[in-house]
């Protein structure tokens, strides 16, 4: 870790600082990609490096701190004569490009509390009954909830009624658990070249739809090796006839914390790749 006091030096070095740790970035890279590459975890659900940013889950909100008053004043700051920080603004780290000299707060009690409330809302909006879900233990939503110390849903649950699509021979869509992150929408468009999914409707009526004549997976071109099938961070898109092959208790997030695992690494190498 490089020590930094002066933002102008940092600008010359093309670095940003997250929670006091100075890290490099490539031109055009977002804050979250620079952070993940440097091994700094910023909670996220709708982000995946390589797919276009979406900015919908809002878990990766970070504070960019305006430190104008402290520029060139390192000595006075050390002596406590000027305030460390002035103002800050919250941005989504997955859509905000990294800019030289940014001073960012990420792992703070305030941000993590806000992230926990967002996660609680995601749980109460859908039907996330972990004990009955095949994806339990491999679910990033669940793992993020563990990371944030979420114990309950806090809000009155919606218990929405949503359609299940089990028409396809190998792929199943359980909308009860869909968090509308659009990872499958983007993966299908950008990686699989198929455009299989979209979000229709607004607000509480927003839902994942399938691009086929009948609107059912059976009539679509989806295949079990598509990235769109494997990128789902929850148990909304499942592969049939593989249920509980890995027992509960021995799954990815039973053995690892979410910050240890980049989402891409949770996909078994033999799947999700063509």
């Amino acid at each position: 870790m490089m020590k930094t006091d002066n933002r102008q030096d940092q600008a010359a070095r093309n670095t940003i600082t997250i929670d006091g740790q100075e890290i490099p970035f490539q031109h055009g890279q977002t804050i979250i990609d620079a952070a993940l590459e440097a091994g700094i975890y910023i909670p996220h659900l709708c982000h995946r490096s390589g797919l276009s940013p979406h900015g919908s889950c809002r878990l990766c909100m970070v504070d960019i701190v305006d430190r104008k008053e402290t520029l060139g004043d390192s000595d006075r700051r050390r002596e406590g004569k000027i305030q460390e920080e002035t103002r800050s603004r919250s941005v989504a780290a997955c859509t905000m490009p990294a800019t030289a000299g940014q001073w960012i707060r990420n792992n703070t009690p305030e941000l993590n509390e806000a992230r926990k409330v967002i996660t609680q809302m995601l749980f109460t909006e859908g039907n996330h009954i972990c004990p009955s879900c095949e994806h339990s233990g491999n679910c990033t939503l669940q793992a993020v909830a563990y990371y944030l110390g979420m114990l309950d849903g806090h809000f009155p649950p919606f218990f929405p009624r949503r359609d299940l699509d089990a028409s396809h021979p190998t792929v199943m869509l359980d909308r009860d658990r869909c968090i509308l992150c659009e990872l499958c929408v983007r993966a299908s468009r950008e990686a699989d070249g198929k455009n299989m999914f979209a979000i229709a409707g607004r607000g509480t009526r927003a839902r994942l739809i399938v691009n086929s004549a009948s609107g059912m997976l059976a009539d679509s071109d989806i295949e079990m090796h598509d990235l769109a099938v494997h990128v789902c961070p929850v148990g909304a898109i499942l592969i049939k006839e593989q249920g509980y092959r890995v027992p509960i208790g021995q799954r990815t997030f039973d053995l690892h914390q979410v910050e240890e695992i980049d989402l891409g690494k949770t996909i078994p190498p033999e799947m999700g790749q063509k």
Binding site: I129, C130, P131, C133, D152, P157, D176, Q257
Partner: protein, 178 residues
């Protein structure tokens, strides 16, 4: 020394959380040196006296659940939602995707092997609610112990924290929803 009084109940649950509590095995002895059970399936006491801690397993699926839960809230200084069902309805809440009538008809009228099909309506039977609810929809809950069921280690940790007057906290490796 007065021992801490603990009441427990299972509402719309499967008693799995109670089984997991008993899974503390010999560690229960150390707990029972400082605590004793009031109303609980362990004691068969029918109504709750004044208690320090109330543990509620299961969600709310019928009117009797609501009465029991209110009795617990009234008598327990600290009320704890134990397990997935108490916290968000859990597996019983899977029926919330269907109309209550459709559930009853499926089970008692159209179910396989049903003889003399009829929906039970004995006055002794508690009326079912339209949906299965988490307990925090009915009463204020002080703490949550997630898991399906919470492990014996989680129970032990919780009892130790509460008996010694510490703030209850779960280390991340003990936190799970399944």
């Amino acid at each position: 020394m007065t021992r801490i009084r603990i009441a427990t109940t299972s509402l719309a649950g499967c008693f799995g959380c109670h089984m997991s509590l008993l899974d503390m095995d010999e560690r229960l002895v150390s707990i029972l040196e400082k605590a004793e059970f009031d109303r609980s399936p362990f004691t068969d006491i029918k109504h709750c006296g004044s208690c320090d801690i109330g543990l509620v397993e299961g969600g709310i699926c019928n009117e009797e659940n609501v009465h029991v839960l209110r009795e617990f809230r009234k008598n327990c200084k600290i009320l704890i939602a134990v397990g997935a069902c108490a916290i968000n309805g859990g597996v019983p809440a899977l029926r919330n995707s269907f109309q209550l009538r459709a559930c009853l008809e499926e089970v008692y009228l159209h179910g396989e092997g049903v003889e003399n099909p009829q929906i039970p309506n004995d006055a002794e039977l508690p009326l079912l609610l339209d949906k299965v609810y988490p307990i925090h929809e009915v009463v204020q809950v002080d703490f949550y112990l997630p898991g399906c069921p919470p492990s014996a280690d989680q129970f032990f940790r919780m009892f130790n924290d509460l008996i010694s007057g510490n703030e209850f906290s779960l280390p991340r490796k003990l936190l799970h929803f399944d």
